[in-house]
Symmetry: C2
Subunit: 247 residues, 2 copies
C-alpha cells in the first residue's frame, strides 16, 4: 500500500548543472506551507540562495561540501517568531515569544516545513540534501542572510537535479526504533544485534578501513562527530539562541 | 504537477472508534525510517501508546484534549542519542553526545521522522494531529514512558481514522514565508497586509468575538500562547534537556 517513493528515496550529494526554475520552488514552498504548524502560526521563513555571489559565501559557511557547492539552490529554513511578534505588536498585543520554549516551538514548525519541502521536491524529481553544517556556522549564516531577532537558521537544504545514480544506505531494523508502551531496555547483546546491519554494510567497512579505525563506532566518535566539536558547536549555537530569542 | 494531497491535507482533531491495526503502524514507521537522518545515525525512537491504562495516563499529560482522547494510538517521537551512544560504548569508542548541540541534532532527526510518519499516515487515509503539549509536560511524559538519559520527547502524534469532515484553515501568502537571498525587511503596512487573511478568516473572527478579545493577535498573546506560560514551559523543558543531555 505504502507509496514506493518513501522506501526508495535517497539523499543526493551531487547535482547536475541544470537550473531549478523559480516557479517550481515557489510551487513547492506554497504546497509545503500546508504542513502542520503550531496554532497555525507558521513560525518559519525560508531564504532562497541562488545569486552566485551570495551562494559562494553560503557554500563557504557549509565548508564547501559537494552538495552545497554543486546545488543550484540552497534553501535556509529558519525558526521565525519575528513576523508573528511584529504583527502582534502592530495590533497592540504584547507578544511573549522571547524565550527558549518559543524557540523550540518555532524550530519544530520549521523542521516539519523543511521536511515537507524535501518530500515535495523529491516527488517532483529533484534531489535534496540537508546540510548538517547549518548549526556549525549558524551565527555567520544569520549575518550573511541578515536574520533579525527571533529568527534562527535550523535546516539548510541543497536542492537541484541529481547527478549520478542512487545511493541507498542501510537502516536499523524497525525494532530498534519502534517501542511499545514504554522505552524498551535492550541488553548489550540486543544493541549489538540491532547495529549489526551498520557494521556489516560494505561501504561502512570501506570507510573504517580507509580511516584506519578500529570500528565504525570509532569513525563516528573520533572523526565524524567528535566530542570536542559537538561541545564547541553547543556553545556557539546556544549563544545564538540567547542572542536572538532570550534578550 | 504537485500531488493534490499536499495542498489539501488538514489536521484531524477528532477520531472515530475504528482501531488502527498494528501492521499498518509498523509499515508506516519502517517506511518513515528512510527519511533523511544526520550521518545515518537515526537519532530517534517512537513509542506507541495503545494500552488503555497507559493511554489514559498519557492523555491526562496532554490535558485530555479531544485529539489525544479520541485517537486510538498516540505516537511519542523522541530525540534519542541513547541507543547510538550505548553502541559506541559497547564498541570501545567514547561517545561525545551529552551536550546541547547533540540534542538539537537528535531533535531535528526526530521531527523529520515524525513528519514523515504524518505524511505516510495521511496518505494511507489516517488522520493525524501533533500535540503541542508534548513540551509542556515533557518531564512527566518521560517518566511515564520510562525514557533513559539522552532521550527527550519532542513530537507527539495522535493518530486514527478521522471522524467528521475536513477542516481547511487559512495560510499566509507564500510571499510572507519565501524570501530571496536575504531576510526581507517588511514595513508595518506590509506585515499587516500579509496577516490580513488571518484577521479576515471567519472562524478566527468567531473565536475573537467568543473570547471577547480586541483582536486575533490578542487571542494569541493573552489566551492561546501567553508569555507567562511560555516562560514556565521554557524553564521546565530546559531543565529536562539539562538533566537528560547535559550531565
Amino acid at each position: 500500500m505504502i507509496d514506493n517513493y518513501f522506501k526508495n528515496r535517497f539523499t543526493v550529494r551531487l547535482f547536475s548543472d541544470k537550473e531549478v526554475c523559480q516557479d517550481l520552488i515557489d510551487e513547492i514552498v506554497e504546497a509545503a506551507m500546508h504542513a502542520p504548524t503550531c496554532g497555525n502560526m507558521q513560525l518559519y521563513t525560508v531564504i532562497e540562495t541562488r545569486d552566485k555571489v551570495m551562494k559562494t559565501k553560503l557554500e563557504a559557511l557549509h565548508f564547501n561540501q559537494p552538495a552545497a557547492a554543486t546545488a543550484p539552490v540552497i534553501l535556509t529554513v529558519c525558526a521565525d517568531f519575528n513576523r508573528f511578534s511584529r504583527w502582534c505588536e502592530l495590533e497592540g498585543a504584547v507578544p511573549g515569544y522571547s524565550n527558549f520554549h518559543s524557540f523550540i516551538v518555532a524550530m519544530t514548525d520549521a523542521v516539519i516545513f523543511a521536511q515537507q519541502i524535501c518530500t515535495l521536491a523529491e516527488m517532483e524529481g529533484l534531489g535534496t540534501c540537508y546540510l548538517g553544517t547549518v548549526n556549525y556556522n549558524a551565527k555567520e549564516i544569520s549575518e550573511l542572510l541578515e536574520l533579525p531577532e527571533l529568527v534562527v537558521p535550523v535546516a539548510s537544504i541543497a536542492i537541484g537535479y541529481p547527478k549520478g545514480g542512487s545511493e541507498i544506505v542501510e537502516r536499523l531494523p524497525v525494532k530498534a526504533i519502534l517501542h511499545r508502551e514504554k522505552y524498551r531496555k535492550d541488553s548489550a547483546d540486543e544493541i549489538k544485534n540491532l547495529f549489526r546491519v551498520k557494521d556489516e554494510f560494505p561501504q561502512n567497512q570501506e570507510f573504517v578501513k580507509l580511516n584506519n579505525m578500529p570500528s565504525l563506532a570509532h569513525l563516528f566518535t573520533e572523526i565524524r562527530y567528535p566530542k570536542k566539536m559537538n561541545e564547541e558547536v553547543s556553545k556557539s549555537f546556544e549563544e545564538l539562541i540567547k542572542e536572538k530569542f532570550m534578550k
